[in-house]
Amino acid sequence: MIPKLMQSLVLPVANAKASRRQFMLGALAAGGGVAVGYHILASSTAAASETAADGNKAVAFTPYLTIDNTGKVMVLSSQFEMGQGSYNGLATLVAEELDADWSSIDVQGVAGNVKAYGNVAFGGAIQGTGGSTSMVTSWERYRKAGAAARAMLVAAAASEWGVQPAEITVENGVLAHPSGKTAGFGAFAAKAAAMPLPVDVKLKQPADWKLIGNAKLKRFDSTRKTNGTEQYTIDVNLPGMLTAVMIHPPMFGAKVKSFDAAAARSVKGVVDVVETPRGIAVVGEHMWAAIKGREAVKVVWDDTDAEKRSTPELMAMYKDLAGKAPVAIARKDGDVDAGFAAAAKVIEATFEFPYLAHSAMEPLNAVARRNEDGTLEIWGGHQFPDVYQMLAGQIVGITPDKVQLHVMKTGGSFGRRAVFDGDVVVESVYVAKAIGFRAPVKVQWTREDDMRAGRYRPSYVHTLKAGIDGDGKLVAWSDHIVGQSIMAKTAFDGMIQNGVDPTSVEGANNLPYAIPNQTVGLTSTDVGVPVLWWRSVGSTHTAFAAETFIDEIAEAAGRDPIEYRLSMLDPQSRHAVVLKLAAEKAEWTKPLPKGRFRGVSVAESFGSVVAQIAEVSTDDSGGIKVERVVAAVDCGLAVNPDQVRAQVEGGIGFGLGAILGEEITLTSGKVDQGNFDVYTPLRIDAMPVVEVHILASANPPSGIGEPGVPPIGPAVANAVYKALGKRIRTMPLAKSFNA
């Protein structure tokens, strides 16, 4: 039932046969799209009046903000905050139009009102955070909400003061009249919220913006993240709450046959040991009791249906498939066979990409409590709240509206908390149910649980083939991608058209280069390892394969890598513009000191285009270090320029860590890595100096949480080739030297 409903939610998008980018731009062009129409401001189902935790009285103006009697503005965010700065972005939009005092702004996550919070970029019918769409979906909506609240405050003040609304000014959270009357928002909040919603609101002209585009604006939430007071899911502590750890199957698809919890039950602080559809849960008075209890549980597993293969076997199968004809075609231009036949030179290469773990710093967790009235409350990183409401409601036998979600901030996610099956969220409900709802339950995964629970960036193999003519012109290109589909067998499988999962081929089937004959083929594999979107999704591998291969072709053609790319791009295109900007800022044509080498790449993802030039050094032992990265970014209008910079800096570190050392492998179906001793994200000693240059743009904002990631791998690989003469085609990078 759930999958069917979810499918119906996403089908309108799939039927339109629009690519993600087309769809996003379409939604923008429509002036707000499905759910962003002005009328939605009036459909407030947020609490009309609520007493906030601080004891002050807050009133809702729209589903998007409340103001309390002290003038504090609480932005109600449809977008989940995992560090990417969406809360800050939405706060900026509201505060700008509200003319609020920036220091009076706070943000909290909300869920349960899809009319108001549905993500425009996903078709509007489902709330969710992903695809770097927070600004896309919020740009109109939250500015209008701010403007409407401002108009209502002005109307209330005008009525109270007996003056004309037009004579009232608002600045920095203060309403003022030329007669000398002034007041803060708090004085009129209650009266203003009861005012009729303005029929229409005018948004500011860009020239009048004080906060949007202001590079000096500081994040509203940095101080609480420096003194330990920021509250994450792990910090939720309810009266009487118990803490559970899970024993998940050791292989994907294995099931509990039997278990013996007698010894565990005698461990001090262990309260219960229960079976759930997702494994055994050890429930303790606190985390340590649960962990110690877990060590004492004996489980016998039924691995009949488990995935038992090892990584070398899977990669051999992938490579074999990659040498055959693709099952589905994602792009076909011209006649690629004729193109290769006529080419003066043909080059081929095979690329291998491992499974990658998100491994956010906060291991997955959620807290569930059933109340006396039968309603359920769940605290967690609710990246797909509507899905979690439905799934949780099903487990308990209540309708989704009886499931109240508390959207917590989380220590990272990178896509990991946007899951189809509810994952740890449903686990918390299962465990609470299994103990008869006698206490609220926090399910807290350990690092090992988190790393071994699957939902990885899928492993892929690409075979690429290119043909150049006698002048070095690229005349034919084929890319065959082999790997698991993220959307297959999920509620999102309606997105798969003609056998092509768009998340498998994005970044490969929309190459910007003018290539007359090209095909992009896909063979989706059936492997029992759960997979998921991992920051920048398909472009994590497609951009790497394409942009390193382009470099190889440029070399075969005897051309400079940037000049060669530009020769295949419209000079006015976004790709060309950011490439030229990066080249200029990195002084591409200026010789480097001895021992330093450069590489370039450009990639489009989530509506934004990013070019990067990486500078690497080598030492006597052949070791390489990435010293500096210059990035040029076109993400449309940069709402928070310093946060755009931060996302690109962080994206570079995130992507660099992956190519330098991250890899999840399986031995007879069991995940080999469990912790950061062997799964190795980037550490500070490998972090390059990063320069981010943001293209001035008047276009609506596009994505920025992810687009900094795709170009770093190929830029570094291209620089490493210059340094060591070795093409990097097997990830992580060191494997290319053993291959």
Binding site: G83, I234, M287, W288, M361, G653, N675, F676, R683
Partner: protein, 152 residues
């Protein structure tokens, strides 16, 4: 029963001596600024000061703490720490913020012992503190800026 001195206050906790200090701080004392990231001293999110020296509280057992004074992010004080925290906010270092208690304690310790650290000093001192958002670029800038302000 073990007695712990945390941020200047004594706390009697009902627990076995093999309980990691991390879980005593979080689950028994109720201070949540110290974070769980790996449980095996690989990520530094749980860093606290023990008699002024940084330790990974996930691998420090309460039975071994004895009379040593524990300082968590909530109790961190002094000119160096306050400067680091101010700079962290001024430069908008945190993204998700989850690892930053540990980063700030390590940075404070570094600057306390080495008022003018080089990039290499910073790498050496901070490499045990993982940040999955990779805010390293700003952590480095933040430490240099704090050093500058402390010198002034």
């Amino acid at each position: 029963m073990v007695t712990l001195t945390i941020n200047g206050s004594e706390h009697k906790v009902e627990a076995e001596p093999d309980m990691p200090l991390l879980w005593a701080i979080r689950d028994l004392v109720g201070l949540t600024g110290t974070k769980f990231g790996c449980g095996m001293a690989q990520c530094g999110a749980c860093t606290v000061l023990l008699d002024g020296a940084p330790v990974r509280s996930c691998q420090t057992f309460i039975g071994d703490v004895g009379n040593a004074k524990v300082t968590t992010i909530e109790g961190l004080s002094g000119k160096v720490a306050e400067t680091v925290q101010t700079v962290w906010a001024d430069l908008d270092v945190p993204q998700c913020g989850y690892c930053q208690s540990g980063q700030i304690i390590s940075a404070t310790d570094l600057l306390t012992n080495n008022p003018r650290p080089t990039d290499d000093d910073i790498d050496a001192a901070m490499t045990g503190n993982l940040c999955r958002c990779a805010t390293y670029h700003r952590i480095r800038a933040g430490i240099h800026e704090a050093a500058k302000r402390l010198e002034a």
